[in-house]
């Protein structure tokens, strides 16, 4: 396989900012930042700008603490810190969604304290089990479209939007193909490498990223897919994000092979595609309602639990590793019942307490290794 191309993509995932600054200098290029989750990137792309999903920073918190209470989750804190201290000058504007209390109120604080030329809210429905949510999302997506057009002074035509959708669909398909290969041949790429590829796709111009991924995928040979000495232990990763990134390294060291997940920076980003028919805005909205569950968004019944069990069954997983961000209330309310459910179904589940800026992972490493060993003994 072409490791040079792989390394180029991984370098974007590990630190996208120097390359993005160079990219920006190359022309009239604007970058619009969004926090998780579900801002329609295709729309920002069709407006001629680069959509960038802000995933915080693991650098020290210097300013955000003066704006936020102590129990703000570390993801929100580090998102704000990134734009106040480290990379704020890179962004031309922001589209911030609302999913819970933190993101709702963070947006006001962000708007008042970060520098920007463009600032917009994207008020996603927080219930998706009734028809009203669909019309609301369509109205809100149309409002975002008009807002972007007003900022750029250019119309987002249907043609442009379909073209952007095409790029994003292609990127998703490539990543799903790699995921399938990983599930069948867990040794060919590490967990860290694969999930870094997803990260890089959230950060780099889609057309170029697709080309690089295409080159990488085309270079994969049969010998790359050979079993290298043990299938390892197949696990499902559950949660919202995988941070700090070293957690993936720990999974790799412990021979825990992620064969499925429900993360916003994992499967939920790469599935499904926008269906290419009809009105493109409606198609984008339709895609939203086919996405996997997301803990702050209410859906019918116990969809999160059912989805997790399906992932375990479909991927022949032996257990679940749940990444719990400290002070994330959605997860806090879900966890006790989720653990009960999984235990009732006989599915081993291990909860990793995590947060951004965590520097001491020894305890986490030991516990993940112990979990892996317990699965290996079954």
């Amino acid at each position: 396989m072409n490791r040079r191309v792989l390394e180029e993509l991984l370098a974007i995932a590990r630190d996208p900012y120097p390359k993005l600054r160079a990219w920006k200098k190359g022309g009239e290029r604007k970058i619009i930042g969004s926090t998780l989750a579900d801002v329609p990137e295709e729309l920002i792309h069709a407006a001629g700008m680069l959509p960038f999903t802000i995933l915080g920073t693991n650098k020290p918190i210097l300013r955000a603490n003066t704006h936020l209470p102590d129990n703000a989750c570390s993801q929100a804190r580090s998102d704000l810190e990134l734009v106040l201290t480290y990379q704020g000058d890179l962004f031309d504007g922001y589209v911030l969604p609302q999913v819970d209390d933190t993101t709702q109120h963070l947006a006001d604080i962000w708007r008042r304290n970060a520098s920007w030329d463009y600032f917009e809210r994207f008020l996603l429905p927080r219930q998706v089990d009734r028809p009203s949510a669909r019309q609301w999302l369509l109205d809100e997506t149309l409002r975002l479209k008009r807002s972007l057009e007003s900022f750029t002074g250019k119309e987002i035509t249907e043609g442009k939007l379909w073209e952007s959708i095409g790029f994003y669909n292609q990127g998703r398909q490539q990543l799903r193909l790699l995921y399938e290969m990983k599930s069948r041949h867990p040794d060919f790429i590490t967990n860290r490498e694969f999930f870094d590829l997803i990260k890089s796709s959230m950060w780099w111009p889609k057309e170029e990223h697709n080309c690089l991924l295409d080159t990488f995928i085309s270079s994969i040979e049969e010998t790359d897919l050979e079993d290298k000495g043990g299938e390892g232990i197949r696990v499902i990763l559950s949660g919202i994000v995988w941070e700090p990134p070293e957690i993936m390294d720990i999974l790799d060291e412990s021979a825990l092979k992620v064969v499925g997940d429900d993360l916003c920076t994992g499967w939920r980003y790469i599935d499904p595609d926008v269906e290419a028919n009809g009105d493109p805005l409606r198609a984008i909205v339709d895609r939203h309602f086919k996405k996997g569950p997301f803990t702050p968004i209410y859906d019918k019944g116990n969809r999160i639990f059912e989805n997790l069990l399906n992932l375990v069954t479909r991927n022949r997983a032996e257990g679940i590793i749940y990444l719990h961000i400290n002070f994330n209330e959605s997860q806090d309310y879900d966890l006790p019942d989720l653990i009960d459910n999984m235990e009732r179904e006989g599915v081993p589940i291990f909860v990793v307490e995590t947060e951004y800026q965590t520097t001491h992972l020894t305890g986490v490493r030991t516990r993940i290794q112990a979990f892996g060993e317990s699965l290996a003994q079954k």
């Binding site: 102590d70 927080r126 116990n302």
Partner: protein
């Protein structure tokens, strides 16, 4: 001899009777073939009253547990089950009650339906999802997007919320097997409108100098509009209450404290287990907390000519669901209207929705009023996170600061 005039009842006694009847009725509901719905304190409860469904507020019951200082025991029980101590004190108290079956009023009935409106906060929707799983009953998440100050967004938001009201009516019809009566809704809304107006009139008594009421009176008397809004009883209650206060205090120039000097604003929910203590402590320093955006959250302004529209507008635009600048403007209106000269801002670890923007609000309010703010952290219901000495010291120091500034 003539007939003796019947003695007018005291508002306190009426409140006791109304509360007893309300909870008594709720506990009998299932035996009487009625449905019980759990709902959040800011929610279109008028639909329930119009459809003869008893609304119960787990938050309200939780407050009773918190004022009864039951929190540590209730929270420890559910912490054993995996819930963290930094979750909302109301939720912890409620889940702890269900685990231990301990309640200051003998408990509340189990629900047939759950309505979770996220205008107050999103955490309510997650708490109610836990209850939905526990009781196997549906939860209707009434989604009110943040009421941002953009015309197009506001128009769409109201349409979305109206659409959801129609969905909720349908859900209630399916639950009960009965057709919804929109005429009855108009009647109920008429009572809500009148009660809300009277409630606001009651709160505004605090603008008088000296004020006949404090925020602690507001917190006590707020209960009736929270859980009996939509009933004639609520209207009659606030009329009686206002009359009583005017007669006993306003007409005689009697203030709730004897030497009122510092008229304070309070940001956030109250510290439920300390409010008597806080009142006494502050009164000893000639200070009284008069108001908060929190107590004003129930001063709705309903337009009964368009019930669905007015329900959508009022329940979406509550203070916790607007942008920070609008929240500050509403607070500043209270500063002016109530002649406030001090500002206590409580960082409530139990309530991110209201606490998150406190630092920004502090800057905005201080800049506009010139009044410094005291900011301190604690928990609205959990004494384990309340530091008596520290908070008293800070309150004293703050009042000394105001004194040195020549305030009051």
């Amino acid at each position: 001899m003539g007939e003796q005039a019947a003695e007018k009842p005291k508002a306190k006694e009426v409140m006791k009777r109304l509360t007893k009847d309300y909870y008594g009725g709720a506990l009998r509901a299932h035996d009487e073939g009625k449905f019980v719905a759990y709902t959040t304190a800011v929610s279109p409860v008028e639909l329930f009253y119009a459809h003869d469904i008893i609304p119960i507020y787990p938050e309200n019951h939780a407050v009773m547990c918190l004022t009864g200082r039951m929190m540590p025991r209730l929270s420890l029980e559910i912490e054993k089950r995996g819930y963290t101590s930094h979750l909302c004190a109301y939720a912890r108290s409620d889940l702890g009650y269900r685990a231990l079956q301990e309640s200051p009023i003998g408990g509340i009935p189990d629900p047939d339906f759950l309505l979770a409106c996220n205008a107050q906060c999103f955490t309510l929707t997650k708490w109610f999802q836990v209850l939905s799983r526990r009781y196997g009953v549906p939860v209707f998440v009434f989604d009110t997007p943040q009421y941002i100050r953009k015309d197009e967004a506001r128009k769409n938001i109201i349409q979305y919320v109206e659409h959801q009201l129609a969905e909720m009516i349908k859900a209630l019809e399916e639950l009960t097997g009965r057709k919804f009566d929109h005429d009855r809704l108009r009647e109920v809304l008429g009572y809500s409108a009148e009660a809300s107006k009277l409630y606001k009139e009651f709160l505004d008594l605090a603008s008088i100098k000296p004020s006949p009421i404090s925020i602690f009176d507001a917190l006590i008397h707020m209960a009736i509009t929270v859980y009996l809004r939509g009933t004639k009883e609520a209207v009659d209650y606030y009329r009686l209450l206002i009359e009583e206060i005017k007669e006993e205090k306003v007409s005689k120039g009697i203030g709730v404290i004897p030497n009122e000097r510092f008229r304070l604003y309070w940001e956030n929910l109250p510290i439920w287990f300390k409010f008597r203590d806080h009142f006494d402590f502050l009164a000893a320093h000639n200070a009284v907390i008069l108001t908060s955006l929190y107590t004003h959250a129930w001063s709705y302004d309903f337009d009964v000519s368009n019930p669905i529209r007015t329900l959508a507008e009022n329940y979406t635009s509550v203070f916790s669901n607007v942008e920070l600048e609008e929240r500050a403007e509403r607070a500043l209106t209270l500063f002016r209207q109530y002649s406030l000269n001090g500002n206590i801002m409580f960082l409530n670890r139990s309530c991110k929705a209201v606490t998150f923007g406190v630092f920004e609000l502090k800057d905005m309010l201080t800049k506009e009023t010139g009044i410094p703010a005291l900011v301190f952290e604690s928990d609205m219901g959990d004494p384990r996170f309340y530091s008596e000495v520290q908070i008293r010291t800070r309150l004293e120091a703050y009042l000394e600061t105001l004194d040195r500034m020549g305030v009051g």
